[in-house]
């Protein structure tokens, strides 16, 4: 077997959640790109079209789930990368707190944006 590397401790909760969110994100990220660059050309997007899409509760829910899972997956990946590089003790707790706060702010702001887009 060729060498296999990972920044995660296999079997840990953070490792499991990273994999579970990954399964969802594979589809969600591909869908997001295809819809907003290939089905609808980005240069032709206007607010009315965005409002029509985001006004659908199914699309709105999908985008919020996408936002939450992408934020978790990204920030969890960064955190595990730093832990893998030797982050420990007090520094590790501070970094975890800062990243958790940044995640909460991003999700809250992202929800505000989605609400504004949907005209709710």
């Amino acid at each position: 077997m060729a060498e296999h590397y990972s920044s995660f401790e296999r079997g840990s909760l953070r490792w499991l959640l990273q994999r579970v969110t990954a399964v969802f994100l594979v589809g969600a990220l591909a869908f997001h790109f295809v819809l907003l660059h290939f089905v609808n050309h980005a240069a032709e997007i206007e607010f009315a079209g965005t409002e029509a899409r985001m006004g659908s509760l199914i699309y709105f829910s999908l985008m919020i789930t996408f936002l939450v899972t992408a934020t978790f997956h990204g920030v969890n990946g960064v955190f595990n990368g730093l832990v893998n590089m030797g982050l420990t003790g007090r520094k590790k707790r501070i970094v975890a707190a800062v990243l958790a706060l940044a995640s909460l702010l991003l999700v809250a702001q992202g929800i505000r944006v989605a609400i504004a887009m949907g005209g709710f």
Binding site: M1, A2, E3, H4, Y5, S6, S7, F8, E9, R10, R19, A22, V23, L25, V26, L29, A30, F33, H37, F38, H41, A42, A43, I45, E46, F47, A48, T50, E51, L67, A70, T71, G74, V75, G77, V78, G81, N84, M85, A102, L106, Q109, G110, R112, V113, A116, M117
Partner: protein, 130 residues
């Protein structure tokens, strides 16, 4: 697995000639992941400033799309996202113990498919910009 292989400090790129497929896959996945999470924060920030009014939203998006550099950055973002998705699928299979013997070949396949999809998308991304 990080607890099996002592890879030393990978960030000392002086060792890059010793890297095998698994190490390159890990490095590229990490690098594309950093870019994507950075873009996620930027994406929400830009949309936040654009949703002040419907007119500002349309003007902001169309103003950005009018810049050729933005179109090329979008192609770069697509390449980064496609590689992260394809290599991510490969990692899910590796974690399930499927295809471990061929995980170096599946990394090369991820690179080839990323290149092919990126090149095929260029006309779409540059439409109306040149």
């Amino acid at each position: 697995m990080s607890n099996v292989h002592d890879r030393g400090t990978v960030e000392s790129f002086g060792r890059w000639r010793e890297f095998r497929a698994g190490m390159w896959a890990w490095l590229f996945h990490k690098l594309t992941g950093w870019i994507l999470v950075g873009y996620l924060f930027t994406h929400i920030a830009v949309l936040s400033t654009a949703t002040e009014s419907p007119e500002m939203y349309t003007d902001t998006l169309q103003g950005l799309e009018a810049l050729l550099i933005v179109r090329f950055l979008e192609i770069g973002l697509l390449a980064v996202a496609v590689f992260h998705i394809l290599n991510g699928i490969r990692l899910l299979f590796v974690d399930l113990g499927v295809g471990l013997e061929n995980q170096d070949k599946s990394f090369y396949a991820s690179l080839v498919f990323t290149g092919a999809i990126t090149v095929a998308s260029v006309p779409t991304f540059l439409a109306g910009a040149l």
